[in-house]
Symmetry: D2
Subunit: 226 residues, 4 copies
């Protein structure tokens, strides 16, 4: 296994995220040897890792190829059903699988900091805020809902603002009488999601099997790189 | 007429705002010569200006004393009915009357800037945001609704956050693809509302009659003081 | 004169701004008929308007072609000398000339709002803040210095932060005891500068001569479009 | 030992912080049995804990009484010399001593989150920002310098803004190309510092001896209260 050079395959290579992923991986030791798209299919050799940047309706193809190649799977598809998650978990018994709705490093650090802060600040008021581009359809964002889960409380209020072309801002405010603590994350380039997937690639190439999320990647990172 | 020394009366002198008003006016040339409260009544001589810091249920008393003294009225009571506004307008034919939900100078400047900005930024997305202390009952705040009226569009979204002991933060975001302009106002002392009422006092003492809001005071100010 | 179709020439067509300008103008009725670059020269016919997206060292060429064609000039070059400004002013006696350091619409609105606010808030504390990408060389930014000029006071403090790949954030804070008013502008795409130049093109095509800045374009706009 | 009722003594009881401390402690089981001020001295019985809210020039008195009573000491005095710290450390061999420049709970959580975040975000740009009231003399604030120490790098830039009557805002920005993470803390009442001292009182009453800072109190808290 080599951290620096690897062959990869991609499902959904032509979308916004898929294009960024190909660009980032090519610049960091990756060679594309397989892809499967709505518009085409390409296969030179067996890849070392499979990345799914498609939509849930391509899920069966993803499982098919992960199974066929017996290689690690990184899946960035959002909106998967419970049944699809079950399939991923079965798959993860034989190969490593990473699923995440948000491959930004900063958002994972935000989630961890929020989890830490909430333990130090019992009884403080909490507000979640997210800002996205006007054309975003879901409200609140999936990431805001992930933040809400940190508090294990569906009543934590989420404010959603829709403004211009903002890729994704998320804030969590903690307040008590006399003080406020805010943790905020802003994305200004979709490229960072592809960079997160690169980190995930390096992580899975070191694993035998198991089901992971992107937070595992970040937490492992701290042991390896610092 | 004297800008610097004046006798004033107050309805509702014992509440949070009333206490601040008495303190600020005393330090700026004001002498209290009349008050009327739930718990007492005090009258030395006829005041030059009457200030109402009470609740709507004291409104009849306010009209009674404004009428009796024939002096300018400043009314900070919120939640007045249409009938009560009509009574104020009739009163304003004979004396000057100032009504406002928010005697902060900064919020009036925000309203003016928002009105200006909206004309320069047609078609931009708009979001209003307000943050207040957890015990505030109305949601959204009256001031956020006043901001919404600047846009003459009830569909402009208002996000309301409830955090700690925040006195009042209001933001307006304008965005288009590629840029965002935000105008934000924060209050960190109730004293400023009393200082706004002091400005209103100086304004009405120069007027014969008429119905005004606090924005008229601010806009007049710029001619006098700069 | 036609607002919608026009032939244009460009000096410095291959840089970041020049590329954005060509893309935006092509999509809005513009046809490039002339360019002059470090690497080449192209000329089909006389353009109706000349745009300079180059550096100060190309200035003489710009003056040469503006003079030759006798057409309006829009110049986005920053760091011009006093002598170069004098040359532009002489040129502007015969053709319209627009010079600006910042062709963002939002920053012009910010400048106007700041100028308005300062008149309403005499004696308030003022702080200017700017955030740009880590590789920006000048500190503070030229736009922050333009904001400082609004206050006609070189002692107004400017805080400069250098973070990631931020294109340009500028904030102005006004504060007094008890309240703060903030006006903030953020850019998240260089495309908006090209869109501002498009507005400038439409403006100069309506003018006979004169020296203008981008604020004149915005203020004129409000009369035409609203 | 009882968490809820305790007798305390205070050095410097008449200043801003001392007054807040007396008010908060009285409302939470504390009875003042000793004080020593510039203007007076009061002693009923031996206190269980001594709190120093004075200035460095009262330090010898503080050591004298801590020594005399052999009780825990909480010292909020800032600007102590190295020699004075050495004296505190010697004292802490026999009684527990807590020294901190900032008894806000939120700022301690911020420090901990910043320390955590920096390990997850190696190579990211860092900027520290602090805002305080216009009359603050030191620039940057002591707390901003404490934040800078977390990075063990005196070159981390600190921006200092001076605005109105702001008690204390501190922000830390982490940025890389494409994303920004901000951790921000704002104080809007000095009362919280007194509440922190109450927490410190409860902490020292459980300790035999040792030298602590306020962060130890907060970290211990998480074990006891959650």
């Amino acid at each position: 296994m080599n951290n620096y050079f690897f062959n990869y395959g991609i499902i959904g290579s032509s979308g916004k995220l898929g294009s960024e992923v190909k660009s980032v991986l090519s610049n960091n030791g990756g060679t594309i040897v397989f892809y499967h798209n709505r518009t085409g299919h390409f296969e030179i050799t067996k890849p070392e890792v499979l990345i799914d940047c498609s939509l849930p309706d391509a899920f069966e193809k993803t499982i098919f190829y992960a199974d066929k190649f017996k290689i690690p799977l990184i899946i960035a598809t959002t909106g998967l059903s419970d049944e699809q998650f079950d399939q991923l978990k079965i798959l993860s018994e034989s190969v490593p699988v990473i699923q995440s709705n948000n491959f930004s490093i900063g958002i994972q650090v935000l989630l961890y900091l929020v989890d830490t802060a909430k333990n130090y600040l019992p009884g403080w008021d909490i507000e979640i805020e997210e800002i996205h581009h006007r054309s975003k359809k879901d409200k609140p964002s999936g990431t805001a809902k992930t933040i809400q889960k940190v508090f294990k409380d569906n009543n934590v209020n989420i404010s959603s603002l829709r403004l211009g072309n903002i890729i994704g801002d998320h804030s969590v405010h903690f307040a008590t009488s006399g003080e406020i603590l805010t943790i905020k994350h802003s994305v200004n380039s979709r490229r960072i999601f592809a960079q997160g997937i690169l980190k995930a690639v390096r992580f899975v190439l070191r694993k035998k099997n198991g089901f992971f999320n992107f937070s595992d990647v970040i937490h492992s990172d701290i042991e390896y790189e610092i």
